[in-house]
Symmetry: C2
Subunit: 253 residues, 2 copies
DNA sequence: AATGCATGGTGTAATTGGTACACAATTGTA
DNA sequence: TACAATTGTGTACCAATTACACCATGCATT
């Protein structure tokens, strides 16, 4: 827990460098061992978890702000980021306001204001992330989508909106380059789709459809080690992948 | 043009009642005589057009703010509104800042700050709208999508992003209830889709697909008066329409 | 009134795409 | 060596989309 002095300094600096009323919250998705994960932070002193977030510097583009915030929390530089909604209910930060209400006079208290939060979701390579807590958390770690904790503020809504958006985007955008390792097998990629959509897909039809998009390179090697037939390895064809990102895919799932 | 005194009053009040740094811009689409229209305002004194917009009251939900702003500009109450992106480049309001720079001291000047704008697009019934200029415009009127004026600030970007979003939404959402009159013919509805997508669609396939969605009621009457066969009239089945809005349609065009 | 023309309503064949399977091939293990 | 589990590939079937044909209607022209 920060001392009152440290809070004072934080707030004094915050008012100086950040835009008032505007915050950014990020839903960072990762994929590990066939499970979808979200990066979350656990509050000091209480069993409430929240999403990585931050504020916008006075002369900073908001995309840069989201990049900067995630760089700090994950260590990763160029992240696939997508703005998906603004959360602007006047009461959304009420709990937060109240929490810090009595610690400083109103004028000096950066947190004693209404925040309108811009939601970004990010897709990242699980293994590249080094989670780093912020000043208000004792823990920054991955949480499984099947085992989510209690959310602070409106962060459950933000999370769920992000997931809905991701599912929708699956229909007309290639997804995977940012979530999978460089090389992967078709069953591994399928597992990603199944996890995001939360439903089973037909193995053979998935393969055909995915190959039909023309964004995969089939490699010569196979993944040995399993107690079964060794599957081929694939990598994304980055050029076609980027093109597909722009032009969109055809149909939906 | 406002006098300096009037500006002073506007600014003084604005700082009092609105959140700093946050604005709302709306792309209002209407449909008239087979053409897609956008509601725009023309600046006093110069040939620069901009989108209807405004600010958020200190305790107002942002959706309410968008509603309120559009109510003032169009006279319409319950408008189909969709948030689609935030525009947060630090330089986006530079021209605006400069424009009013020397008219008031910095501290009193609500416009001398960075604005992050939340973009909404709206679909409205052309005939219900009574365009009303604001304090900075001499004109508020519909502009044809095929005959767009010079845009102020980044409003061209905002407009184009809105149009892209609308086209995308056409794939998985029913569109039309808010743009068409109560009763309409199939060719009229098709014209709407063709205008939004900016391409021709097959008359017969369009009809079958549209009917397949199950959101239309076929009426007994036909539209007399044309020099040709009288087409049937349709209306939207509001119940099914709402359901389709929630659950989404199937495939794309 | 007869005819023509432009448009609207409905049907159908061909093609494409998606779904549901079957079967062979490969790998490690019993 | 046989087996279990999994992967690679093919194919028949169904649904949806596309392309096109034909008829009906209402006004205009003569």
């Amino acid at each position: 827990m920060l001392t009152k002095q440290e809070l004072e300094e934080f707030w004094a600096e915050a008012s100086e460098i950040y835009l008032n009323h505007i915050s950014i919250d990020c839903v960072v998705f990762g994929f590990h061992e066939g499970q979808m994960k979200v990066l979350m932070l656990k509050s000091n002193n209480e069993e409430a978890w929240y999403l990585p977030g931050g504020f916008v510097l006075k002369k900073e583009p908001i995309e840069k702000a989201a990049d900067r915030i995630l760089k700090i929390r994950t260590g990763i530089d160029k992240i696939f980021l997508q703005q998906f909604r603004v959360f602007g209910d006047p009461d959304r930060s009420k709990i937060h306001n109240d929490m810090y209400k009595d610690m400083l006079p109103k004028e000096q208290n950066f947190f004693d204001q209404r925040f309108i939060s811009i939601g970004y979701y990010a897709l990242v390579d699980f293994f590249n992330v080094t989670p780093a807590p912020d000043d208000f958390s004792e823990l920054c770690t991955w949480r499984d989508l099947n085992d989510l904790p209690k959310f602070q503020l409106d962060h459950r809504l933000i999370f769920e909106t992000a997931l809905d958006t991701l599912r929708l985007q699956l229909n007309y955008q290639p997804i995977g380059y940012n979530l999978m390792p460089k090389e992967f097998t078709m069953p591994e990629l399928q597992k990603l789709y199944e996890t995001i959509l939360d439903k089973k897909l037909d193995r053979r039809n998935f393969q055909r459809r995915m190959l039909g998009f023309g964004i995969l390179n089939k490699l010569e090697q196979t993944r040995k080690g399993g107690a079964h037939k060794a599957p081929y390895l694939y990598s994304f064809d980055l050029e076609n992948y980027q093109a597909a990102l722009k032009e969109g895919l055809k149909s939906g799932w």
